[in-house]
């Protein structure tokens, strides 16, 4: 008797699983997180409470949740569109920084431009900055066929060093006792805030972006082009859609949103430029996009979940004295389980009890070693 785990291709994608897969992934993450906590000698129930429920229990932490979710949702929604087109922009962190730099040029270079137009100009520049940064991998891909994963990722480091150089050099606050930071922005250059003053206008932008992109993807021909490109690029060419055009569009949208997230961070909770302006939002947003099923609306939920991860990590550090790097472990597990569970959308799992008579079985065991190298892929994929 042997049990085989069989992956069977479904005739069509399972709609139930499209909903269930991210939930299952979250559940598995919590389960394995509990094992991790238990192994470290913590009561898993208490640890999970601190990690996942605690951040939701006070008004302050809920506001903080929204602050953290804002850039994640903005970037995640844009990345969802890129990924749908089979374009792997993983350099959103760099686009975020580029947007922050472009937008921050106004308060730093024109600190006395006290006008209601300053904020819109900063936001616009932020989006353009992110777009410009994202345009580089798009250009390299369209012109030379360069792999956008590498180019977009490498540009993150360029952006980080540019920021670092600026805040230590030309843009350093002259009255800042040589600390590597820019001048603090004045009220004309800071976003309107709500509640206790942490939640800012960026949260509104995030919701708007999600809604606009959801409509864009499901109802417009351009959204259709993007989806076709991701599913079947050749069919896209046959449909008369331009590959290069979609590349520009997707990198443009995702870069603009990352740039917007960047300027909202520095004109919001941060309030100035400093060597680090993001705890890796641009990378975490990749998980947000996947957790949200590469759907802009899903990115809203995904952003909130990942924001809890950040806050939970901080809470765990305070209450359980474990490294806040646990947050990264959880993020890693979550992405892993999402990608795993997504298999269930296309396939179903079946246990197969192979009943063979023992003598036969031996014979087959004997050949399995040798046969394992053979190209069964073609047959099994039929």
């Amino acid at each position: 008797m042997g049990v085989r785990l069989v992956l069977e291709k479904r005739p069509e994608r399972s709609r139930a699983m499209q909903v269930a897969s991210p939930l299952l992934a979250v559940a598995l993450t919590v389960l394995f997180g509990s094992i991790l906590f238990a192994a470290r000698g913590f009561d898993p129930l208490h640890a999970n409470y601190v990690y996942f429920i605690g951040p939701l229990t006070t008004l302050w932490s809920v506001e903080e949740l929204i602050v953290k979710a804002t850039p994640l949702v903005l970037i995640g929604a844009g990345l969802a569109i890129c990924f749908r087109a089979d374009l792997w922009n993983i350099g959103a962190e760099g686009q975020l920084i580029a947007g922050a730099l472009a937008g921050a040029s106004i308060p730093i270079l024109a600190p006395h431009w006290d006008s209601a137009l300053a904020i819109p100009a900063m936001l616009l520049l932020g989006m353009l900055g992110g777009m410009a940064w994202a345009a580089v991998p798009a250009l390299l891909r369209n012109r030379f066929g360069a792999n956008e994963i590498l180019t977009s990722l490498m540009l993150v480091y360029v952006a980080q060093y540019l920021l670092d150089w600026l805040v230590r050099g030309p843009w350093r606050d002259p009255q800042g006792f040589n600390f590597p930071k820019s001048i603090g922005f004045n009220d004309w250059h800071l976003l309107t805030t709500f509640g206790d003053g942490r939640v800012h206008l960026g949260a509104v932008f995030a919701v708007i972006a999600v809604i606009v992109l959801a409509v864009f993807m499901s109802r417009t021909l351009l959204g259709f082009e993007i989806k076709v490109r991701g599913e079947a690029p050749r069919a896209g060419g046959f449909g008369g859609f331009s590959q290069a055009g979609t590349t520009w569009l997707c990198f443009g949208i995702s870069g603009a949103l990352a740039g917007l997230a960047g300027i909202c961070e520095v004109a919001g909770p941060v309030g100035q430029l400093q060597p680090t302006i993001s705890p890796g939002y641009g990378f975490t947003a990749i998980i947000v996009a996947f957790l949200g099923r590469l759907n802009p609306l899903g990115a809203l939920l995904g952003g909130l979940v990942l924001a809890i991860c950040y806050l939970g990590g901080e809470a765990a550090q305070v209450e359980l004295s474990i490294s806040e790097k646990t947050a990264q472990v959880f993020q890693g597990m979550l992405l892993f389980f999402i990608l795993t569970c997504d298999t269930l959308i296309r396939c179903r799992v079946r246990l197969e009890w192979a009943t063979r008579n023992p003598s036969r079985q031996r014979q087959f065991i004997g050949l399995e070693g040798g046969a394992s190298r053979t190209a069964d892929a073609g047959g099994a994929a039929q």
């Binding site: 417009t220 259709f224 079947a232 069919a235 036969r360 087959f364 050949l367 053979t374 047959g379």
Partner: protein, 518 residues
């Protein structure tokens, strides 16, 4: 292995049942194969042939029923076990790596350690012995489909199989290549091996096979001696009703040339692509013009140039409805009344993961159906259009507005052809209209093409299927290594001459050339 001879049968499948969820693919199928016979498995798409064969090959496990190998009850848990028994299979879609050589591809399927050089010698010997010439060091990407199939066959023969299963092997071959394969198969049968031969092509089954088992809707409806049947009687058994023959009588004189290709040359873009060389052709309205040719001789490149997926260097090289179109894109050509159906259904003419209503949008978004308004998609119109196409062209599906990838080959092809014909195009270019399509659907599609031509359209059919070409074409040209022959009226040219043109004979110096791939 020690075996008793079970009534002389090599393999018996008894009362095989296979269910997928609540769908029964095989409902109690019984099939017996003798050593030394070529046994046909006939049936329309979806009749359960592939399921049965996958069970025999160990790729699927039956829900019920049993298999006997030389009388002894066996289970075949996986393809490795099937190979160990002596069952080999050539799939319709090859599992070859383009970037590897012939012998490297074969080495991947050889269990245990191997030595490339001695393997290459074995490959050369076996391929010569069975009349399947192969150059072991050739790169697979360089080889046409027919030769790739030889690699698969030789790969199987290296295992000294007792039973060779072939899934629609001639779907990709020319008559000459098919004949060559038949010689090999007959030779294998004479050596006492069994061949299970899956095909739609009834004439070749009659010519080649000793017995035929016919499946319909997952059940065996007949076991016959194909030699004493007619193609029509076999088709009737498969379909369960008469298959309408195509009526292609020409009612009147042809109209003007609505699609003109003039001196079109295009260098190959891909490393192993075919360059088009000075192609000229006139396709008249009211007529079906066919381009015959061996797979991989520039058909795909010609199609892409005509559709506008790849632009020609000069506008005048392609003229559609009087408009120079060589440098216009596919959307502009569609707006002039041209329609296109490429060879590959999944991923080219249709997006597999999209519903039919979304796939309708792929080619109709700019052709004046108001499916898109200021950038926004009108969902009810696309759904209505998909439903209309499905109804007009008898597209059958299990759920309304299904994903394209879930449709059978024949049904999806009816849909993508119907999607274009529904526009009543003035010019229709279609590449391999009935590739891998069942008899019923093929007849419907061919009739629709002829009807469209008779209604005044210029129809260009690029096909490898000579039966099809002689059934529907008014004029025939042949493509070979990127060059096109003169165009002949269909009643002024015979198969033999077309076959010679396909093989690249009568080129430049007029002497027949060797098969370069051999």
């Amino acid at each position: 292995m020690e075996t008793t001879d079970g009534d002389g049968y090599l393999l018996q499948a008894e009362d095989i049942v296979k269910r997928f969820g609540d769908f029964t693919a095989n409902g109690s199928v019984t099939l017996s194969l003798r050593a030394g016979e070529i046994h046909a498995l006939l049936g329309e798409n979806g009749a359960g042939k592939s399921t049965l064969v996958k069970i025999l090959y160990g790729a699927l496990q039956p829900t019920a029923g049993r298999l006997r190998w030389r009388g002894e009850t066996i289970t075949v848990p996986d393809p490795g076990a099937a190979r160990q028994l002596g069952i080999a299979m050539v799939f319709q879609h090859f599992s070859l790596f383009d970037a590897l050589t012939v012998v490297e591809n074969i080495a991947l399927a050889v269990p245990g350690p191997f030595d490339l050089r001695s393997l290459a010698e074995r490959v050369e010997r076996i391929s010569a012995e069975y009349g399947l010439p192969l150059e072991p060091t050739a790169l697979v990407a360089d080889l046409p489909v027919g030769v790739r199939q030889r690699i698969e066959v030789v790969r199987c023969l290296l295992q000294e199989p007792r039973l060779l299963i072939m899934d629609e092997p001639t779907a990709v071959l020319t008559p000459q290549e098919a004949q060559q394969l038949f010689v090999t198969l007959k030779r294998l049968a004479e050596e006492g091996r069994a061949v299970l031969y899956i095909s739609h092509r009834l004439e070749e089954v009659r010519e080649l096979c000793h017995r035929a088992t016919i499946l319909r809707q997952g059940r065996v409806v007949a076991e016959v001696d194909p030699g004493s049947e007619t193609a029509a009687s076999l088709a009737r058994l498969m379909v369960g009703a008469d298959v309408h023959s195509v009526n292609a009588e020409t009612p009147g004189p042809a109209g003007p040339a609505t699609l003109t290709i003039a001196g079109l040359s295009l260098a190959a873009v891909k490393p192993f692509g075919v360059s088009l060389r000075d192609i000229s052709l006139e396709v008249r309205s009211g007529e079906v013009t066919a381009v015959a040719g061996v797979a991989g001789n520039g058909q795909a490149e010609l199609f892409e140039a005509l559709s506008g997926e790849r632009l020609a260097p000069t506008p005048q090289s392609i003229v559609i409805a009087g408009q120079p179109c060589g440098t216009r894109d596919i959307t502009e050509r569609r707006r002039l009344g041209a329609a296109f159906v490429p060879e590959e259904r999944l991923g080219h003419s249709a997006v597999p993961g999209f519903r039919l209503s979304e796939n309708v949008l792929l080619t109709r978004h700019a052709s004046g159906d108001d499916l898109v308004n200021t950038g926004f998609i009108n969902g009810s119109r696309t759904r209505a259009l998909a439903a209309r196409v499905a109804k007009r062209f008898d597209v059958r599906f299990s759920r309304r507005d299904q994903e394209a990838g879930a449709l059978s080959g024949g049904n999806l092809q009816k849909f993508v052809v119907g999607r274009e014909l529904d526009r009543n195009p003035r010019v229709l270019v279609i590449n391999q209209p009935t590739w891998g399509v069942d008899a019923g659907a093929a007849a419907l599609i061919r009739q629709a093409l002829v009807d469209r031509a008779r209604d005044g359209a210029a129809v260009l059919v690029i096909s490898q299927d000579l039966d099809e070409i002689f059934q529907i074409a008014d004029r025939i040209a042949v493509i070979s290594r990127g060059a096109l022959s003169d165009t002949f009226p269909a009643d002024a040219i015979d198969r033999e001459r077309v076959g010679m043109l396909m093989a690249g004979a009568l080129e430049t110096d007029g002497t027949p050339q060797q098969d370069v791939w051999a």
